[in-house]
């Protein structure tokens, strides 16, 4: 299956067939929010545009997104394979991307560069916006216990199309350093 076969789903998400992963995610979040909440663009037409119409649209949007995610996963595994063979050909070239340490600050920067708003992450991950903000600011003392935090970080990473394990490892490493410091003070 190539992108051509997914034309319909790109159309429903109002995207060009060459859209990037982020454009797809961002379009999905935007449309989800648009048709599930009242806003100044919906309410003037709400009496004609019934709840049922909107539910139908949401269903199509969800379905299209799910289909496109399958497409992306397939494309991703193909390109991973390509990258691997490239990396083994050229020695250490492939490692460059892994050099970043995913601190809260780094995550925030990546998110901003991608043009994704916190509320979009919140919608996608079901993590409260205040919590996401604290994660980015590394307010470790007001974050939930480690097990929950790990889950949050992993979801957040997935939302930004980052490698969840690498991000969680980096972030939790920083978290533990802070924890040890607090312990030492006491």
């Amino acid at each position: 299956m190539s992108r051509k076969d997914y034309k319909k789903y790109f159309e429903i998400l109002e995207l060009d067939p060459d859209a990037s992963t982020l454009e797809i995610k961002s379009a999905y979040l935007r449309l989800r929010k648009l048709y599930s909440t009242d806003s100044i663009v919906i309410s003037p037409i709400a009496d004609e545009f019934s709840k049922k119409n909107r539910r139908d649209i949401l269903q199509q949007v969800d379905e299209s997104y799910a289909k496109l995610m399958v497409l992306l996963r397939n494309e991703h595994s193909k390109s991973r394979y390509r990258q691997k063979s490239l990396a083994s050909d050229k020695g250490h070239m492939g490692e460059k991307a892994d050099e970043t340490t995913f601190s809260g600050q780094a995550l925030r920067q990546i998110r901003k560069n991608l043009g994704i708003h916190l509320y979009e992450v919140a919608l996608d991950t079901k993590i409260r916006i205040e919590m996401l903000n604290k994660i980015e600011l590394e307010k470790f003392d007001s974050l939930p216990p480690e097990v929950y935090l790990k889950g949050h970080i992993s979801n957040y990473a997935r939302c930004l199309s980052l490698n969840p394990e690498k991000v969680t490892d980096d972030y939790m490493e920083r978290y533990r350093v802070w924890k040890d410091e607090v312990k030492d003070k006491v």
């Binding site: 648009l34 100044i40 663009v41 919906i42 003037p44 004609e48 545009f49 043009g115 708003h117």
Partner: protein, 311 residues
């Protein structure tokens, strides 16, 4: 309805949108100035019912002759054209008695458009002003590019939906008339209670369900009905999404292909330039707003949408 095309490649852009005060006249003058600066021959035509004042945005006094002279006294159109002080760009002004009145019938308007094309300009930009008057809408429908200006504010959005729905209804009605099916749409709309129709969407649905041949015509006409949206007075990055939301709703609600071509941030230097009666695109040519205007004008020329994602 057939668009009026010029053999010499002249393009007519009409700028409307339903609500007054959203900045249409400012946008017309700025698009015109940008095109003229890029060595395009441009004529601006002001048919704003609520008060033609495009000349003020260009810093010139009200032209003595208006379209009334053309309609009532047969004055040649080229005698109404005045210079704007900006090279390559001229202006024709209308007034309350000309295009606004219902006495100007459709054939007269066709005549006006024919004469406009004879002026030999590359771009003809029409300022429609606010309102969803039939006369305004018919002029809108005759243009090559139908451009709607809206601001991130509920009344403006509501009026724009109203404007676009009216425009689509009139367009469909006119096309069905050409095929001899006008009675069907009129009948169905008049007896809408019996057909359980409450709005344009349901009317289109009901027509399609009842007559498949009419459905084909409607599909074709709707897919040819393209609207370009400009969002003015944007105050936050979240406001920008309103442009793409409107586009989405028009598509998913009425099947209308709209393109969100760009936006202008709210900018005090804009009203300052208007107050000082100086063309914004010349006085503040390096400002962010001027760059935004350039960007959407380019998108309009190429028929492209603005890309939302920043890289």
């Amino acid at each position: 309805m057939e668009k009026l095309r010029d053999e010499k490649g002249g393009k007519i852009w009409a700028i409307g949108g339903g609500k007054g005060g959203t900045g249409k006249t400012f946008i017309v003058s700025s698009i015109g100035t940008y095109l003229a600066k890029n060595r395009k021959r441009v004529v601006l035509i002001d048919v704003d019912i609520g008060g033609a004042n495009l000349h003020s945005f260009l810093g010139i006094s009200r032209p003595k002759k208006s379209l009334t002279n053309f309609f009532d006294m047969g004055t040649p159109l080229k005698d109404l054209v005045v210079k704007t002080g900006i090279g390559n760009m001229s202006l024709i002004t209308g007034d309350i008695h000309s295009l606004a009145s219902d006495s100007i019938i459709f054939t007269q308007k066709l005549k006006l458009f024919r004469h406009i094309m004879k002026l030999n300009r590359q771009y003809v930009i029409i300022d429609l002003g606010g309102g969803s008057h039939n006369n305004t809408i018919d002029t809108f429908l005759m243009a090559d590019k139908m451009i709607a200006v809206v601001e991130p504010e509920i009344i403006a959005v509501e009026n724009m939906y109203h404007f676009i729905k009216n425009a689509l209804f009139r367009k469909l009605r006119m096309s069905l008339k050409e095929y001899g099916f006008k009675e069907i749409i009129d009948h169905m709309w008049e007896k809408r209670e019996r057909y359980k129709i409450k709005n344009l969407r349901e009317l289109i649905g009901c027509l399609k369900d009842s007559f498949s041949y009419v459905g084909d015509i409607l599909d074709r006409e709707i897919s040819g009905f393209k609207i370009y949206i400009i969002l003015n007075k944007v105050r936050s990055s979240q406001d920008i999404f309103i442009g793409s939301s409107i586009k989405s709703i028009l598509l998913k609600y009425l099947g209308i292909n709209a393109k969100f071509v760009g936006y202008i941030e709210y900018d005090d230097s804009i009203w300052r330039s208007v107050r000082e009666r100086r063309p914004f695109m010349l006085t503040y040519s390096l400002s962010r707003s001027a760059k935004e205007i350039e960007a959407f004008t380019e998108n309009l020329i190429q028929g492209k949408e603005m890309r939302l994602m920043r890289s």
